[in-house]
């Protein structure tokens, strides 16, 4: 079985689903012959033709609005925003139509679409190519916001996103697109969209994260283990609708929680998790909840960007603070 990267897993999932469901199609800028700027759609146009792998005019609003129309007509479009930072023109179509079509028509019309975007920083990209803004979507009712953190989860979650009867935002952490390979059987098996994944069991502190920061969280857990501290690591994976129960169960066990995310701190999705912990797990907590996040600044251009990103050291320090507190 082939070892593949996260980006190759995205391609594998798209190819699998397009081969098995004629209504699945891909549209976006440069997704055709060029295979996408990150090669997520490499080889798909040759296999499935120019209409099912459609190079659109260079207008994100068009991509999003046409996707809504396609989906209402029974297609299952997978639209690509070339970078997360280019997604803003799509937001009216996503928020006002994709996310609310089912509700506003009492289920008469629906939008079974996926909006994919390479997400986050850390690849020395130009300005506007490194945004982490998932929290802008987690506050929109009617959307699923999904972020894979490994090749296997990219494959299984993308299949689930395409098969889901409602719109899914699928944010791909591009920093780990090619970070490592693993075996991902091309068996068409989807992963559930309503659970958080516990990647490592632990007893002293819970590290809650998603996307590229799963890497830092796992490395921090190694570092903490070397210091005799047992960290549980949770990949939220599907931010909304949130499987809070998995997080709550972990924190009830450990009594401590560090939330790690790349987006700015204020009103980031970590704030929601911290608030839920305060509401539902206050008496299980042995220490204040810590958040290790990007700052309330724009992500700097790449000379400074790694200073902005949550680092292993910051995560380890935060975890140790929770242990020092009790």
């Amino acid at each position: 079985m082939a070892q593949i990267t996260l980006i190759e897993a995205v391609t594998q999932a798209l190819a699998y689903e397009m081969a098995h469901d004629d209504s699945v199609m891909v549209l976006g800028e440069d997704v055709g012959l060029n295979g996408g700027v990150f090669r997520a759609t490499q080889g798909l146009q040759e296999k499935f033709g120019e209409l099912r792998v459609l190079d659109t005019p260079l207008d994100e609003t068009t991509i999003a609005g046409v996707t809504v129309g396609l989906a209402v007509q029974g297609m299952k479009p997978v639209a690509e925003a070339q970078f997360e930072g280019f997604i803003y023109p799509m937001m009216e179509q996503i928020a006002c139509h994709a996310a609310r079509m089912r509700n506003r028509t009492r289920g008469r019309l629906t939008v079974p679409a996926v909006f994919r975007a390479p997400w986050g920083g850390g690849i020395r990209a130009p300005e506007h190519h490194s945004e982490a803004n998932e929290h802008l979507f987690t506050n929109i009712p009617g959307l699923r916001v999904v972020m894979p953190s490994s090749p296997a989860r990219a494959y299984g979650l993308l299949l689930a996103a395409i098969r889901d009867p409602d719109p899914v935002m699928f944010f791909e952490p591009k920093r780990i697109y090619r970070q490592y390979k693993e075996e991902v059987p091309d068996d068409g098996e989807a992963l559930p969209l309503d659970v958080c994944f516990v990647l490592r069991d632990g007893t002293d502190v819970t590290l809650v994260t998603w996307g590229a920061q799963v890497k830092e969280a796992l490395e921090a857990a190694d570092e903490l283990a070397a210091q005799g501290i047992s960290a549980e690591v949770i990949d939220v994976a599907t931010l909304t609708p949130l499987d809070f129960d998995t997080i709550a169960e972990s924190v009830q066990k450990t009594g401590r929680c560090v939330i790690v995310h790349e987006a700015p701190k204020t009103a980031g999705f970590g704030a929601e998790i911290a608030a839920r912990l305060a509401e539902e797990c206050m008496y299980d907590l042995l220490a204040p909840v810590e958040r290790v996040t990007g700052f309330d600044t724009h992500i700097p251009l790449f000379r400074l960007e790694m200073k902005y990103m949550p680092s292993v050291e910051r995560v380890v320090d935060a975890a140790k603070r929770t242990l020092a507190a009790s």
Binding site: L54, G69, Q93, H97, T110, D166
Partner: protein, 361 residues
């Protein structure tokens, strides 16, 4: 001088403001006077419906309502030219087109009366049309996406969208006609130019002499018609639909009309436009000319007009009663359609609201 491109925009009119026929080459449908009477009757019922809606709003039985007064020829012309299998993506005042396609007045009242079920059109072909689209021009891209789906599946169907003169300024409109041109999509975009985008007049909406010519930039067939002349609107629509259906591409039609009423019941147009202009608008309104023409042909008269108005009144009264008798949805309906199935996390919020209900909050 070398010319890179040249274009002209045809203006189409059959009936002038008084109902005098200004050209002899009547399209086939207009030679069927029985059909023309049917179109007139729907225009009249649309006007009766509109007056009833405004009366409902003024008596507190409807929320804000967007009137279609003066747009009857444009809207009925659009709706009557489409086939059932086509798809319509309206903005929010095209009732004449929608009534033709099976939207019921009670559904319009429900929507403007604060009930999502108004968007759940029960009758075909409206049932597969898009619901009203308040965010300006966004529906144009839904029509373009629908047209793309038809092309991909090889279906001989056309997607039609309508926007206003203001809507033709928005990127979504340009995006829709642009991809329609680039991909040769079966899209018909009708700009119902009623001269006003709330308080902003046509002349500062765009420097283009016609709005139709925006379609030229996208590579679409483009035409301007007298939007108060239903024969012109219907003819341009039939031609555009035929071109689209036979794979010859999309069209932009500018139907020039006039908004005789306020933008919505929440607007007071006296704040920004003069009485004379509105009087001039009434001189050119769409009902009078078609009535005059039909009367001259001997197929319509005052007695028929009164009898049909009375029928419309009865129809609308029934619709109003059906609307007013509709029970408010249970509070759980707020949660039931967010996703195909209510997620566990959302179910907790629903259960909380339901618990408040049982406590009588």
């Amino acid at each position: 001088m070398t010319i890179a491109a040249k274009f002209e925009i045809e203006y189409l009119q059959y009936l002038d403001a008084e109902g005098k026929q200004v050209r002899d080459d009547l399209p086939e449908f207009a030679k069927d006077l029985g059909h023309m009477v049917e179109l007139y009757k729907l225009m009249l019922s649309t006007r009766v419906f509109d007056a009833k809606s405004i009366a409902l709003q003024r008596t507190g039985k409807l929320g804000t309502y967007a009137s279609c007064l003066g747009h009857e020829a444009a809207h009925v012309g659009i709706g009557s030219a489409m086939r059932p299998e086509d798809v319509y993506a309206p903005s929010y005042r095209e009732y004449g087109a929608q009534l033709y396609r099976g939207v019921q007045p009670r559904e319009v009242y429900m929507y403007w009366g604060g009930d999502e079920r108004g968007n759940d059109y029960q009758k075909e072909p409206a049932r597969h049309d898009f619901a009203w689209s308040v965010p300006i021009a966004t529906q144009c891209l839904h029509a373009a996406g629908s047209a793309l789906a038809f092309k991909i599946r090889g279906e001989k169907r056309v997607a039609v969208c309508t926007i206003g003169d203001g809507g033709s300024s928005k990127g979504d409109f340009y995006g829709a006609i642009n991809i329609a041109g680039a991909q040769n999509l079966p899209l018909v975009a009708v700009i119902v130019n009623n001269q006003w985008a709330i308080s902003v007049p046509r002349k500062i909406q765009s420097g283009a002499p016609t709005l139709a010519q925006k379609g030229i930039a996208a590579g679409l067939f483009s035409i301007q018609v007298d939007g108060n002349d239903i024969i012109a609107v219907r003819k341009a629509m039939e031609d555009a639909l035929e071109r689209a259906r036979s794979g010859k591409g999309g069209s932009v039609i500018e139907a020039v009309t006039y908004r005789l009423g306020d933008h919505t019941t929440a607007d007071d147009a006296r704040r920004y436009r003069g009485e004379q202009e509105v009087k001039d608008g009434w001189e050119k309104e769409p009902m009078k000319r078609l009535r005059n023409w039909l009367v001259a042909k001997g197929v319509w008269d005052d007695a028929k007009e009164e009898a049909w108005k009375a029928e419309c009144d009865e129809w609308m009264d029934n619709e109003v009663n059906a609307y007013l008798e509709t029970k408010t949805q249970p509070v759980s309906a707020m949660f039931d359609y967010i996703f195909a199935e209510v997620p566990a996390d959302l179910a907790k919020q629903r259960d909380y609201v339901l618990s408040l209900e049982t406590k009588g909050h």
